[in-house]
């Protein structure tokens, strides 16, 4: 933003000089517009379908209109990042910026159907099950700003970035688990080749290499500032300009971007607005080009902005109703030790009714630990033993010899979660399970839930593109988000994480999910929709299915 006082001073100094300056600026813009009639991005190398059966639209799908150069695109973000360091933060407010300042080796297509190359020239070669050879583009330059000063990116930078990301400091390096303990080493036989050696066959490797958090950073910037909390210098399409806490982030077009012709827009601004009604108003008032709203704001935005592009997308955050966590030393206690009781609880819960009453049916069902948005890995339909069936639930209670049970249910309180608690209480009461409702403030709830000592809870976990994280961190041998002791399930989860053949891995993932579902540790309920809007002027881009992926290099404005 230009400074008012500077503009005022300029007006006072010389009006004639200003007019002269405007003429020059106008000519410059015209030149830029001509230069903007450039190439579409051609993703070099191959693609790999890691998470979907059918290749979907590529992020650079052939446009029907010629992209135009110039303009400023303005996004809404629901909050300010805690840090600009991609290795520290875990919120998508961070990746909105960092995904455009840095590049990764690979990335997911917006529909998560494929993994495509970014800095890598092709998909990795696997000479054996433990080795991943990645070749990177030559001539990729860091931004021409201090301290990188346009230096060429090499394999050493990739090695440095992955090793830094893998720093063993949970609470700080939050994405270390992608590679920490999994890699045996990283070699750089030449300037443009990186060789990852894993300790065991590591199936999630590609997903994590394509993660929006696995970005290639600049060593000199880390060394100069200590970390990347407030600085960002990468090889990406935009150069970081400004981060004003709780107000905005700004970036400008990288004129030397290594993907010729990209990006199209000159400037990008992310405005922070935490209140959802305020965010909706900003889009209605055309103060931002893109916004994601929830169900309460949906009708207002749709009726006020009939011109906008709109899509409803199931959220990666979803709802489970859990029963007590178990470990080897903390097995199920009666009546939960009887699987018929657990199944009765599962079949007494009607997620469709909850979804209808609380969210006006605005969402989709989950049938297992992996959401249907990850179509390739998810259970295609609900297992009969898991379906809502009140009559069978009552029969199971009878068979288990349980006439009544009383126990507390905890959750992180908010108006909608509180309604869910009320409805679950009514549903479970029909089989004689009396629930005492105990809503808790988020931090207090975390304390309770991560003590693994509770009777019932309803919880909002996050699903990720790779199935391993959705299975192992909840049902795996070393899980921490939840604990369910079942050696057979542990073995299946371990096997899938080491199976590099995609089809065989899928079979193991589905089998593990079936085992989990039929062990009745919880009711897999639903996910609600996010409502994504863009201004009609926004072309060549729409929100990524993975909310954390913020890349916009192909976006252009039809102004």
């Amino acid at each position: 933003m230009s400074n008012y006082w500077e503009r005022y001073a300029v007006r006072r100094i010389s009006r004639r000089r200003l007019l002269y300056g405007s003429g020059v600026a106008g000519a410059g813009l015209a030149g830029l517009a001509l230069a903007g009639c450039g190439d579409d991005e051609e993703a070099p190398g191959g693609t790999q379908p890691p998470a979907g059966q059918t290749p979907g639209a590529s992020p650079t799908a052939a446009p029907t209109e010629q992209p135009k150069r110039g303009g400023e695109v303005i996004f809404h973000l629901g909050g300010s990042p805690r840090s600009l360091d991609p290795h520290f933060d875990t919120f998508p407010y961070n990746t909105a910026l960092t995904n455009n300042v840095y590049n990764g080796l690979y990335r997911f297509t917006p529909d998560l159907a494929e993994i495509v190359t970014d800095l890598a020239t092709a998909l990795p070669e696997n000479p054996d099950q433990l080795t991943w050879v990645v070749k990177i583009h030559q001539g990729v330059k860091f931004h021409n700003v201090d301290p990188a000063n346009g230096r060429e990116l090499t394999a050493e930078d990739v090695k440095y970035s992955i090793e830094r990301q893998s720093t063993n400091e949970p609470g700080k390096f939050q994405h270390a688990y992608f590679f920490l303990g999994k890699l045996d080493g990283i070699d750089t036989p030449d300037k443009y080749t990186v060789v990852f050696r894993t300790k065991r066959p590591y199936a999630p490797m590609m997903s994590y290499l394509a993660s929006p958090w696995t970005l290639i950073i600049n060593r000199e910037t880390v060394e100069k500032y200590g970390d990347l909390t407030q600085h960002a210098v990468g090889t990406g399409p935009f150069i970081f300009k400004e981060w004003q806490k709780d107000v905005h982030m700004k970036a400008e077009r990288n004129p030397d971007y290594w993907k010729q012709g990209l990006p199209y827009v000159d400037r990008v601004t992310w405005l922070f607005a935490t209140d959802p009604d305020t965010a909706a108003t900003m889009f209605i008032q055309k103060q931002v080009h893109a916004v994601i709203v929830s169900q309460p704001q949906l009708d207002r935005v749709r009726s006020a902005r009939k011109d906008a592009n709109y899509k409803a997308v199931p959220s990666q955050f979803w709802r489970q109703m859990r029963m007590p966590p178990t470990t080897k030393d903390q097995p199920y206690q009666p009546p939960f030790s009887d699987p018929r009781f657990r199944q009765a609880v599962v079949q007494a819960v009607n997620p469709e009714q909850v979804l209808d009453l609380v969210y006006a049916g605005d969402g989709v069902r989950a049938f297992g630990p992996i959401l249907p948005i990850y179509e390739y890995w998810a259970l295609p339909e609900e297992l009969p033993e898991h379906k809502f069936d009140l009559a069978n639930a009552k029969k199971l209670m009878q068979a288990a010899g349980v006439t009544s049970f009383r126990g507390p249910m905890i959750w992180a309180t908010n108006p909608q979660a509180d309604q869910i608690g009320e409805i679950l209480k009514q549903q479970l009461a029909q089989i004689g399970v009396e629930v005492e409702l105990q809503p808790m403030e988020l931090a207090a709830y975390y304390n309770q839930t991560y003590s693994y000592k509770y009777t019932f809870s309803h919880h909002v976990p996050l699903n990720n593109p790779d199935p391993d994280e959705n299975l192992s961190s909840y049902f795996g041998r070393n899980s921490t988000y939840y604990k369910h002791y079942n050696e057979e399930i542990f073995d299946l989860i371990d096997q899938q994480s080491q199976e590099l053949d995609r089809e065989r891995r899928r079979a193991l993932v589905l089998e593990a999910q079936r085992k989990i579902v039929l062990d009745f540790p919880m009711k897999f309920m639903f996910t609600t929709n996010l409502h994504e809007f863009t201004d009609p002027a926004v072309k060549g881009w729409f929100y990524h299915t993975d909310l954390y992926d913020g890349r916009i290099e192909t976006l252009w404005l039809d102004l």
Partner: protein, 316 residues
Amino acid sequence: MTEYVIRRLLLAIPTVLLVMFATFMLLRLVPGDLVELMMAENPYATEEDRARIERELGLDKPIPQQFAVYLGKVLRGDFGHSPWTGRSVASELQDRLPVTVEFGFMAILIGLIIALPVGILSAVRQDTLADYAARSFAILALSVPYFFTALLLIVFPSTWWGWSPPLTYKPWSAGPIDHLYYYFWPALLLGVGLAGSVMRMTRTMMLEVLRQDYIRTAWAKGLRERAIITRHALKNALIPVVTIVGLQVGTALGGTIILESIFNIPGVGRYFIGAIFQRDYPSVQGVVLVLAVIVVLVNIVVDLTYGWLDPRIRYG
């Protein structure tokens, strides 16, 4: 006078210490802790990791020892660093405090601009239509929460008329008019909320003063109404009003917390909310300390204005 100010400042020290201690203890006594939240963002963090984080943040020490360390740092001007962002709390407050203070000041100013004339009018025209209207306005201002009116202002005008108050922060560098206009609507909402009690107090005090003998004497001498009201009545009626305004500084600063989120104002309030939910102990402690100091200082200033309003008051 100087001696009085020094005495009041010295007496403020235990108050501030008490606030610091209460904040420090309450943060650690409420269920849910910082380390748990940090661990919750990592799917494979272990108990060893927890111990290490606690050690690094000094949370493994007994609470009295933690408080002593914190107090020592604060006395040296070090409010600590946010465990989430690594930024110093002092620099965060430096960025945000002027925004909140300006917003709060504008709200109180607008509140006074509304409340004083309306309160005076209401007293002078007691039991007339103007008085009833003014009293109804005061009750409305007191009873309708400002965050509710704020949401109405955000939601409906944009839908009906395609208008909304400015929602993008405009610093002074964007121009004084834009800057002041940006603050105007939230300050108006908060100011109206504050105006109710000031208006009622002004009316009550004015009614009391207008019945005094010296006012009757002034009328008998044939002084003009404006002179009687402004020069003789209002000044004497203002002491309780000023007390209320002093107490409203705390309310105004509290009120900014919600309005800052609704109007995207980058002040202390938004920062404070985030810090509470994330159990960011140093940030919460820093914000509460600074706000407590402001409230204490403002109330000292309020006490000092009594002497100006009524020269019979002596500070001894």
